[in-house]
């Protein structure tokens, strides 16, 4: 038992690596703060284009984009963008490569969620707003989008959690975020405690969010909505 504790939960190692892990965590948080808004904005733009355009071609193009990037494992996309672009003379820094590849795929997911939310708002809402003289843009901003966002909030949060977790892929590009820091500490100290600690940090951060979504969903089920 003591051996297991010393191996996986070694206090001395934990204390030693904590500063390193915290700076890794800071990097993780910064990446998430960059990637999540980018994806959300991209997704919102796509969803608005999809729902507001009259052109069938635009809608088909957006569907293709969304399905294409939904079919791409995130890691494959990250690797492709960062390792294939140098062959044509484009050197992307890891952050940029990561941001581009995440933006491409997460905007597809956000688009799906928001599009479903927008199309679920009854036409009567738009008609009522337009009948009072509000413009199409005002109607979207004050009537349709607030309701759509509220209705799909659990899905938006769930997707954002997935993206936050996805920042761990940055370790593959050698960016010293939380997982990478833990891995390097583990290989230097020959002890897995840093990995356990990193997992615990993710858990501490995201468990409340996961709980919140579950609670939100079950309360909506109870309301029959």
């Amino acid at each position: 038992m003591q051996e297991i504790l010393d191996t996986f939960f070694n206090p001395a190692v934990a204390v030693q690596v904590l500063p390193m892990l915290l700076s890794g965590l800071w990097m993780t948080v910064k990446l998430a703060a960059l990637i999540i808004p980018l994806g959300l904005l991209g997704g919102l733009a796509l969803a608005l284009a999809h729902t507001q355009t009259r052109s069938r071609k635009v809608r088909i193009a957006i569907n293709l984009y969304v399905d294409f990037f939904r079919s791409f494992p995130q890691l494959v996309l990250v690797i492709f963008v960062s390792f294939a672009t140098p062959f044509i003379g484009i050197e992307l820094s890891p952050v940029v490569a990561l941001a581009i590849s995440f933006m491409l795929s997460t905007s597809a997911y956000y688009c799906e969620i928001l599009r479903a939310g927008i199309t679920a708002i009854p036409a009567g809402q738009t008609e009522a707003a337009r009948s009072t003289g509000m413009s199409a843009t005002q109607t979207l901003r004050h009537v349709v989008l607030p309701q759509a966002f509220r209705n799909v909030l659990p899905d938006l949060l769930g997707n954002s959690i997935e993206i936050f977790k996805g920042t761990s892929l940055a370790s593959v590009l050698g960016m010293s975020e939380l997982l990478y820091s833990a891995q390097s500490a583990q290989s230097v100290l020959f002890n897995p405690t840093p990995l356990v600690l990193a997992a615990a940090i993710y858990l501490a951060l995201l468990w409340p969010a996961v709980r919140f979504i579950s609670a939100l969903e079950s309360s909506r089920r109870a309301q029959g909505g």
């Binding site: 494959v76 593959v172 997982l179 897995p192 993710y202 579950s214």
Partner: protein, 228 residues
């Protein structure tokens, strides 16, 4: 773009020679990826459904909390972290599992957590009267579950379950990080051997060929659910 530059791009990103030379290796990886993907889906769905049923059946609050805790923990941790933890930490206590087995175990367990959540939400959406009606005809709790509740719950959550299975298949690519030569892993190896990105392009095409039909299927299922 000029024609020369155009063919240059193709020469770089989709070099026919390199495709020919590396495709046996990559195709073997495709078989492995599909095999692992199918196994993960079967194991994940079975385990997840069993957990949801258990959570519904048990009267013990402790047990219910444990199941919810299991689900939450696996939903809150990045799959890559779980994979690396299992693969690199277990050897310290002399448990050594290969990268294929580690990938299979981790992805199955993660998928089971998400499936539990989907099935549970399906069960909760069903009207209480369903179980009562089934029991009133003399069926046992398990019979009611098997013939009345679960079929409906699974069907209600089919779109979400499909999406989760797609995510699980995509996560097989994470195996490359611990040295499982699935599609991405073998493509990366080939790409550095030949100093050419063609294997990576091939890998991307293969993944899309593999998963795109599933994405279309999930779109169809969502569409059908929306109509009902």
């Amino acid at each position: 773009m000029s024609q020369a530059a155009d063919s240059g791009l193709i020469h770089t990103f989709f070099n026919a020679d390199i495709v020919r030379q590396t495709s046996p290796m990559v195709m073997e990886a495709v078989g492995q990826t599909i095999a692992i993907g199918v196994l993960v889906i079967v194991a994940g769905i079975l385990l997840g459904t069993a957990l949801a049923t258990w959570r519904f059946h048990t009267q013990s609050r402790v047990l219910r909390a444990l199941i919810v805790g299991y689900v939450d923990v696996l939903r809150a941790m990045p799959p890559l972290v779980i994979l690396i933890l299992v693969y690199f930490a277990l050897p310290y206590v002399n448990i050594s599992i290969g990268s294929v087995l580690a990938t299979f175990l981790c992805l199955s367990v993660i998928l089971s957590a998400f499936i539990e959540e989907c099935v549970w939400s399906g069960i909760m959406t069903l009207p209480k009267g369903q179980m009562e009606a089934a029991r009133s005809t003399g069926m046992s709790w398990w019979q009611s579950m098997r013939h009345v509740i679960l079929p409906q719950a699974l069907r209600l959550s089919l779109p979400q379950i499909t999406n989760r299975c797609i995510a699980a298949i995509k996560n097989t690519a994470l195996g490359s990080v611990i040295g499982f030569a699935e599609i991405l892993g073998s493509a990366q190896a080939a790409s550095s051997d030949y100093a050419n990105p063609t294997p990576l392009t091939l890998c991307a095409i293969l993944y899309i060929g593999l998963i795109y039909p599933l994405v279309l299927a999930s779109r169809y299922l969502e569409h059908r659910a929306g109509i009902r």
